[in-house]
């Protein structure tokens, strides 16, 4: 069974996109940035076409970065043409993420920093793995590796490939008799 964080991640994100809200991610906004965190986020109206790099100060020290590099590269080593985690920029990603002044990231900071300082913690390790995969698969190399095709203008919307239709018809034929 997937754990509850599955709900926290995906259904919350989708719910947001659809304007259906989630009730899981309680972004009521008060105190998320500013006082108490010592940092400001990027604000409610950042430039979107040419996003600026986030401005909050980075908090990882060299020892943490080294340890992170070896952890990440053992999880996702270089493989054929696929870059390793550190080659894909994941150390910088974690430095940005764990330094950010928002509630999810502050929670991750509290969870993961002690782990990077050598305190064994399976929950932190698991969260680190999840974030690493999401970060790797949102790089240009990851987007291709996962099988995504798109983000390029199409002259029209091509029909579903026969191979896909066949795959789905075969899967349908395999469904057991429907229970009444």
């Amino acid at each position: 069974m997937p754990d509850r964080r599955t709900l926290l991640g995906w259904t919350a994100a989708v719910a947001g996109m659809l304007g259906v809200g989630s009730g899981l991610r309680a972004y009521l906004g008060t105190g998320a940035t500013g006082p108490g965190t010592g940092n400001a986020g990027y604000g409610k109206d950042p430039a979107l076409v040419e996003p600026q790099p986030s401005s909050w100060p980075r908090i990882l020290n060299d020892r943490q970065r080294d340890w992170l590099t070896s952890l990440l590269d053992s999880l996702l080593p270089r493989s054929g043409t696929l870059p390793s985690a550190s080659e894909a920029g994941l150390v910088a990603f974690f430095d940005e993420w764990l330094s950010a002044p928002y509630p999810d990231q502050l929670a991750d900071r509290a969870l993961i920093l002690p782990f990077l300082d050598g305190h064994a913690d399976p929950v932190a390790e698991n969260r680190l793995r999840t974030l690493a995969l999401a970060a790797w698969y949102t790089t240009p190399a990851g987007i291709t590796a996962i099988g995504f095709v798109g983000n390029e203008a199409q002259p029209d919307f091509a029909p579903l490939p026969i191979a896909v239709l066949d795959h789905l018809e075969r899967a349908f034929a395999l469904l057991p008799e429907k229970q009444p």
């Binding site: 995906w10 994100a13 989708v14 304007g19 809200g21 949102t138 240009p140 919307f157 191979a163």
Partner: protein
């Protein structure tokens, strides 16, 4: 919409917008990747629907402009602070209300009838659909009207996951999955190009291939030379003369706090349901001590939103599909319209109104939050084994959302907060919210239906189904379909606004947003907002020409 209709009828219009100017042509991040954005574009309290979402200056929170929620209630209010408002990033689902939706009370005794019927609104639906461009098909489904031939653009084929869901739902559950009606161009339309079948509509569309008022309505209205726009102008009241007629509006200039009063022959309020109610409530005068149009104490009452419940699952049949382009219009290609009208009329369901189903999933551009979800499902491993897991799971998560209809109730409304003020020193809105028994029964049915569909295909349900329905139903406002606060009614004691959208109390004040709705069916509101706005603007233009508005 009203400004477009009024300027094309030859009238001069001043549009006052509290947000900033916004230009989709230069401000839309069309092809930008998650990796180009801070935090990979993940949602944060600054950008609650993700970094690239086309909401400027707002979201669930607008800095300095709070709202309050009465004790025991839960409500959230999504606002943007930009020209074009929430049409810049809405879901583009564009359904007509059906004939039964206008006479619900007559049919089942609940809620309120509309003071007009479907036949009367139908020509305005036709006009709006022709103007903005909507794809869809005629399906002949009860109470989900078809458009006359030649109006709708051809729908795109279902995406792979929609195709699969349609096979299972249609063939094994008797739930029809048909082309959605969406305000997205699958063919060139006037001088607007067709969709690129790539790039996320919720970021807006730089080429104007979907509907945003900033690309479709405002530019032609400006070319008439009769529209002036002042952004950063926060309207707070409609002053009246001794006879109760509006003389114009009062507003505050965001830049310097200066108060302006603009004179006008007529005023159209379209600040979205709740803000329109707020402006009316703030418009106190000797003639209207309780607020303009509020003699019967109805402004702000009958607030509705769409009840919704969702079930997410991992669908094994969608694993390991070969790579192919399947983004399409990036929003819904299909939906399931309400399919049990007959059973419901026969009293077999235990609730009175319909629901529809929306679909989410597929092989979209990998967004950070989507990747987090599948990473959590990936089996332990490292290196190539882990990559194989991610590739297996990509595109196999499906999210179904049931959308129903709320019956207005006395416990759901907004009013001026007696204590809390915003950055302008104006009283903020205080919301009260309660779902009724009808909505709970309807959503309980939907949750069971959606879970059955997933179970039947052997999918792993990711949503916790053990909670009582009242706990999983989202607080009011979450679906961002607020409606009903200044509803239309034939008689003043049933609603503040007449059948044209004009205040019963003041003949030159019109409302042109979902505040007008006496009921809020499961169909999404924006098409009906525009049809009513156009019809109301036409009425206003005729009245002004005759000199009786």
């Amino acid at each position: 919409m009203a400004a477009h209709a009024l300027t094309s009828a030859g009238l001069r219009v001043l549009m006052l917008e509290t947000g900033r100017d916004y230009d989709p042509a230069t401000e839309t991040p069309m092809f930008q990747l998650p990796a180009d954005a801070p935090l990979r574009g993940a949602a944060t309290p600054d950008k609650e629907f993700g970094f690239y979402d086309a909401t400027a200056g707002g979201g669930w929170d607008v800095p300095g402009e709070p709202y309050t929620v009465a004790e025991g209630s839960q409500f959230r209010w999504w606002r943007a602070r930009m020209l074009g408002g929430r049409t810049n990033h809405w879901g583009r689902m564009t359904l007509r209300f059906g004939p039964d939706d206008f006479r619900g009370r007559s049919l089942d005794g609940l809620g309120a009838d509309w003071p007009l019927d479907y036949a009367e609104l139908a020509p305005w639906y036709d006009r709006v659909e022709r103007l903005i461009g909507v794809f869809g098909a005629a399906e002949g489904i009860a109470n989900s009207p078809d458009s006359p031939d030649g109006i709708l653009l051809p729908p795109p084929r279902p995406r792979a996951f929609e195709h699969w869901m349609g096979m299972v739902m249609g063939r094994r559950h008797g739930i029809p999955v048909v082309p959605a009606h969406m305000a997205i161009l699958t063919r060139p339309h006037g001088d607007r190009p067709q969709c690129l079948f790539a790039t996320d509509c919720m970021r807006g569309c730089a080429i104007g291939a979907n509907f945003q008022s900033t690309t479709v309505l405002i530019p032609p209205a400006l070319t008439t030379g009769r529209l002036s726009i002042r952004t950063g102008m926060h309207v707070y009241a409609v002053p009246v003369d001794g006879s109760g007629r509006a003389t114009g509006v009062r507003c505050i200039d965001r830049a310097n706090g200066a108060v302006h009063e603009f004179k006008a022959r007529a005023v159209v309020l379209a600040a979205s349901s709740c803000e329109t109610a707020r402006i009316l409530l703030q418009s106190r005068s000797t003639a209207f001590p309780a607020g303009l149009g509020n003699d019967q104490g109805q402004v702000g009452h009958n607030l509705m939103d769409t009840p919704s419940v969702s079930v997410a699952a991992q669908v094994p049949q969608l694993e390991n599909l070969p790579p192919f382009a399947d983004e399409g219009v990036t929003l819904f290609h299909v939906y399931a319209p309400w399919w049990l009208t007959d059973e419901q009329r026969a009293g077999k369901l235990g609730f009175a109104r319909g629901c529809h189903i929306e679909f989410w999933g597929g092989r979209r551009l990998p967004e950070f939050d989507d990747m987090v979800a599948i990473a959590q499902l990936a089996r332990p491993g490292r290196g190539d084994a882990l990559h194989a897991e991610m590739q297996r799971l990509y595109g196999s998560l499906v999210y179904l959302s049931g959308r129903g209809e709320m019956i207005p109730n006395a416990g759901s409304r907004c009013e001026l907060d007696p204590d809390v003020k915003d950055r302008f020193g104006l009283p903020v809105l205080r919301f009260h919210w309660a779902w009724g028994a009808e909505e709970l029964a309807q959503m309980d049915f939907m949750r069971r239906t959606l879970a059955d569909v997933f179970r039947d295909m052997g999918a792993t349900i990711l949503t916790d189904l053990s909670q009582p329905i009242a706990q999983v139903m989202r607080p009011g406002g979450h679906v961002i379909h607020e409606a009903g606060t200044v509803r239309m009614a034939a008689r003043p004691n049933d609603g503040p606004v007449d059948r044209w959208g004009r205040l019963h109390a003041s003949a030159n004040v019109y409302v042109a947003d979902a505040g007008l709705f006496p009921s809020m069916p499961c169909k999404n509101p924006t098409l009906t907002i525009m049809a009513l706005a156009w019809r109301g603007a036409h009425h206003l233009a005729e009245s002004l020409k005759r000199g009786d508005a």
